[in-house]
């Protein structure tokens, strides 16, 4: 399988996807969930029986509040957090909730509620990720010191990482429009998970390249990269398939509360696996072609 020679095609696809994602992100369509903004709370008491959290949650979705967090309080009450309901927002919810078994439901309390996650969490998370990325780059430069120009590996890995995060964010924005998915605290965790997966997956491919460069320093770099990809592609597919098995199972058969989170993970695994082979490794080749840095000159035993 000759992948390297088609690198321009793969890189172009990725480039287009990244640009689309970036545009999606800049236009303000990524919905910030109620974890980050202030909203409203409603406490219902059911006169007769207990319809169950999922049922109440479904009723909230029908009334136009898929973002609602529903918690059972004791045996007969439900505590619901939604986006700001304003003056008339409660009526629509009342209508749906009163259709449920166990009703009529009495509104015990309504209040405005402050954000549960500090506003600066997103900014802090971004700062933390940038710092983490710098340290990971330094580590890759150290770990790949036996091959020439190890900084290129570090840089390529981070480009692949940024690629993955951007595309997952972009995909989620599309989903946000399509199924009203929202950015919440769980979403941040999902992105952090994607980052962990992406870096790890890229390093496995790079490790193969490192090994082959060391074994046959004289070989053409493109051939080396192509060989390395072919040798490790079974493993890449194997690992991502096994991981996806678990994620898909939870996505398809699991509860609704984890749906958005599992979508982020699924997108992350697919993009993360793809980018290791078709982005990170190709950037190395591309970079290599642009500058003259003879491999044979610099090989030192490890």
């Amino acid at each position: 399988m000759d992948i390297v020679s088609k690198r321009r095609i793969f890189l172009s696809i990725s480039f287009v996807l990244v640009v689309i994602s970036a545009v999606m992100l800049v236009s303000p369509s990524l919905n910030l969930g109620i974890d980050f903004t202030s909203g409203s709370t409603v406490t219902y008491q059911f006169a007769d029986g207990n319809p169950g959290t999922e049922v109440v949650s479904d009723a909230l979705t029908k009334s136009g509040h898929p973002e609602a967090i529903v918690q059972a309080l004791g045996d007969d009450q439900y505590f619901i957090r939604t986006e700001d309901l304003g003056v008339y927002g409660l009526d629509a919810i009342n209508e749906e909730v009163n259709k449920l078994d166990g009703g009529p439901a009495k509104v015990l309390d309504t209040s405005t509620v402050g954000a549960s996650v500090a506003e600066d969490t997103v900014r802090n998370a971004i700062t933390a990720v940038i710092v983490a990325v710098i340290f990971v780059m330094l580590y890759i430069m150290y770990a790949f010191r036996s091959v020439p120009n190890s900084y290129k590996y570090a840089f390529a890995a981070i480009v692949a990482l940024a690629h993955d995060v951007l595309i997952v964010l972009g995909a989620f924005t599309v989903l946000g429009i399509a199924i009203n998915a929202e950015v919440n605290a769980i979403f941040i965790v999902g992105i952090l998970t994607v980052i962990g997966y992406s870096v790890n997956d890229t390093i496995v491919i790079f490790d193969r390249i490192r090994e082959n460069v060391t074994l046959a320093p004289g070989r053409d770099f493109r051939a080396t990269v192509n060989l390395s990809i072919n040798e490790s592609i079974t493993r890449s597919v194997g690992t991502s398939l096994t991981t996806m098995t678990v994620i898909l199972a939870i996505l398809l058969f699991g509860g609704a509360s984890l749906r958005d989170f599992m979508i982020v993970l699924l997108a992350g695994v697919i993009v993360g696996t793809y980018s290791s082979i078709f982005v990170a490794a190709q950037i190395l080749v591309l970079w290599e072609g642009r500058r003259f840095l003879p491999w044979r000159r610099q090989i030192v035993s490890t």
Binding site: T41, G52, T53, S57, I69, Q71, A72, L73, F79, D84, S111, T112, V113, G114, A115, S116, V117, A118, T121, N124, A125, A128, A132, F135, V136, Y139, A143, I186, I188, V189, G190, L192, T193, I195, G196, V199, N200, D201, I203, V204, D207, R208, R210, E231, T234, R235, G238, T239, T242, T243, V246, L248, A249, I250, F253, G254, G255, A256, L258, L265
Partner: protein
């Protein structure tokens, strides 16, 4: 072989250890609010002076409570401000903490007169608590376990009910006064019975009168037959409180009774049975509630004790017929005799407060305070004055007197310890956290307490858990079917990994939340990946014509650098996230980072030891005669096939 055997042994040991540590939740793990329910507490802000709380008050409340819960180790608690409507200033605080509401009361009767059975019956039948379970602790105290307590007021009602339900038996014995002192106690005795001559013992009527004088004419007083001056008293409900409603110290009822009894004669001995001597609330989220809801106003007051010497020569001294020994105690502990005033020690000058253990023969839990320069100076000045006047420094927390120590000299260095009679290790920790986080700007009143369902919904999570389990089984089936023997080993390694991980979470203990669970899934992915890498490399080495054992060794050596580098990068990410999470107190990130770091370290460990050793172990058995069983399905070619381009 030996190595693998001992390894397996170590495994089971860790296992057992991990699961022996008990707990209520599945496998004894601590689960976060999002995965398991908790307690839903709503507090109303109550400024002391009756004004409306301001926005700053509420933000201050939120920050301090946030800090308190975080330091307490209640991870993933949620603290939110609730308000009446749009644009109005919030006036309530919603706190959701993991752990079910529930309560335990520890109480003790003097001489252990009440049995657990009767108290349990009392709670079930009279107090309307059919779920109450009462057991006796080793030290004789009783423990009542209940589903919940609606605030401290409910507990106070029970306490009063118990005090009036169970009798207190007193015995008091009088002796004839010594001949030499001139009639003591005659001048100040308010009640009439003071015209008795010296040389007679108090009569039954006099003793009854003494009880009447303190408002307890309901006490049944009897003279004990055949022993003059000996009386037995039976009464219900002695109030041993030593503070009044506003928290200022007063004489307890038992102290007032003793004083009245002393007025009518020389008491030789007293004995009491059945007095309630201990009453402590705890259990469930009780300690967390203590931590959140208390203002934590620390006050240092100067206590000027009664004069040691008579203020004038013609006054009988010590006053009120007290003996010299009694006076030494009474002058500083009886509010009748001392006065208190504010000091210049300000709790705002505290730099730090931490739980500690006192030195000395019997170590006791204490709180160490560290003052800044101003506070240290003030503390020296006050303790210096205390030592010279032989007075006391009284320390109050939220109006409750903790301790009122004397000082031998002025204390320099800006460090102080506080020690309280009722201090336990738990309480000391709570106080230290409260002092560190600062006093709440306004008081809080608990207006709602209820058990609350998991944020992510219990039924929804249940489904996801089953689905995840199903996914894992699929994964194992796939690995075994595709990778064969290495797949089986990978599956065994995965099980070992999961067991070890849960064991570690339990021992540390890590509160498992969704972000933690995500990190677990990720590190599980890495653990699978490590095994896949080893299997693939082993296959390549087999193809290049090596013997099985050599191929396994070489395959592992080849796979190791990528396992190592990938995992180390991830650990670096985890450390940075944890560090930032700590600085910005964002528990979402910290939970993820901590779990990820533990998970990845462990996945490296299982890959390095479990997978490698198990592979070698199996290869050395008869299964090892079939190298094909070690090659994935797709690559089913005879081992003798020519080497592919892999290693040239």
């Amino acid at each position: 072989m030996v190595v693998s055997a001992s390894f397996a042994l170590a495994f089971s040991e860790v296992n057992i250890f991990g699961f022996v540590r008990g707990g209520d939740s599945p496998l004894g793990l601590t689960l976060g609010l999002d995965l398991e329910g908790g307690t839903h507490l709503v507090y109303k802000a109550m400024p002391d002076d009756g004004r409306e709380p301001t926005k700053d008050d509420m933000e201050g409340l939120r920050n301090i409570i946030d800090k308190r819960v975080n330091e307490f180790g209640v991870s993933e608690a949620s603290v939110q401000l609730l308000g009446g409507g749009v644009d109005s200033v919030p006036d309530r605080v919603l706190v959701q903490i993991p752990g079910q509401t529930g309560a335990a009361i520890t109480l003790k009767f003097d001489a252990d007169t009440v049995t657990p059975e009767t108290l349990q019956a009392f709670f079930r039948n009279e107090l309307g608590r059919p779920e109450a379970v009462v057991t006796r602790n080793e030290n004789g105290s009783l423990m009542v376990q209940l589903d919940d307590i609606q605030g401290e007021s409910e507990a106070d009602e029970w306490r009063d009910a118990i005090i009036s339900q169970y009798p207190v038996a007193l015995q008091v014995g009088y002796v004839l006064p010594q001949a030499d002192p001139p009639a003591v106690g005659e001048d100040d005795a308010e009640e009439s019975k003071s015209d008795e001559e010296t040389g007679t013992l108090p009569t039954l009527d006099e003793v009854r009168g003494a009880f009447a004088s303190v408002g307890r004419s309901d006490a049944e007083v009897d003279a004990v037959d055949g022993a003059e001056g000996l009386f037995s008293i039976l009464m219900y409900g002695i109030d041993v409180n030593t503070t009044d409603d506003s928290g200022s110290p007063v004489l307890g009822e038992n102290q007032r009774i003793m004083a009245a009894l002393r007025e009518i004669g020389t008491v030789q001995y007293t004995e009491s049975q059945g007095t309630l001597t201990q009453w402590t609330l705890g259990g469930g989220v009780q300690e967390a509630k203590n931590l959140i809801g208390k203002t934590a106003q620390l006050e240092f007051r100067y206590r000027e004790c009664g004069d040691i010497l008579a203020p004038s020569d013609d006054m009988p001294w010590p006053p009120n017929g007290l003996s010299q020994d009694e006076w030494v105690v009474e002058r500083c502990s009886n509010p009748v005799y001392f006065t208190e005033s504010a000091t210049e020690i300000d709790a705002a000058d505290l730099d730090d407060a931490f739980p500690d253990i006192s030195g000395g023969a019997i170590p006791r839990p204490i709180v160490t305070l560290v003052f800044n320069e101003d506070g240290g100076k003030a503390f020296f000045n006050v303790t210096d004055r205390v030592s010279r006047q032989d007075d006391r420094l009284a320390i109050y927390l939220d109006g409750e007197e903790l301790v009122a120590p004397s000082a031998r000299a002025g204390i320099t260095g800006g460090r102080a310890i506080i020690e309280g009679g009722s201090f336990t290790t738990e309480r000391v920790r709570t106080i230290a956290i409260q002092l560190r986080s600062g006093a709440l700007p306004v008081g809080l009143d608990l207006i709602q307490e209820r058990n609350v369902d998991a944020v992510l919904g219990e039924d929804s999570l249940q489904k996801s858990l089953i689905a995840g389990g199903f996914g894992l089984i699929m994964l194992v089936v796939f690995m075994v079917a595709y990778y064969k023997v290495p797949g089986v080993i990978a599956s065994i390694a995965l099980v070992a990994y999961a067991v070890l991980l849960l064991g570690i979470f339990k021992m540390i203990p890590v509160t498992l939340t969704l972000s933690g669970a995500a990190a677990v899934i990720l590190s599980l992915g890495f653990a699978v990946d490590a095994n896949v890498l080893i299997a693939e490399r082993t296959k390549e080495e087999l193809r290049s014509g090596r013997s099985l054992l050599a191929a396994i060794t070489a395959g592992f050596d080849r796979a190791w650098p990528s396992i190592r580098d990938g995992n180390v990068s991830t650990i670096i990410v985890a450390i940075v996230l944890f560090w930032f999470g700590d600085r910005f107190s964002t528990s979402v990130m910290q939970g993820f980072a901590l779990t990820l770091a533990i998970g990845v370290l462990l996945s490296m460990f299982t890959a390095f030891f479990a997978s490698r050793l198990l592979l070698r172990l199996i290869a050395s058995t008869r299964i090892g005669d079939k190298p094909n069983w070690f090659v994935p399905v797709r690559d089913q070619t005879p081992p003798s096939a020519p080497t592919s381009g892999g290693v040239s």
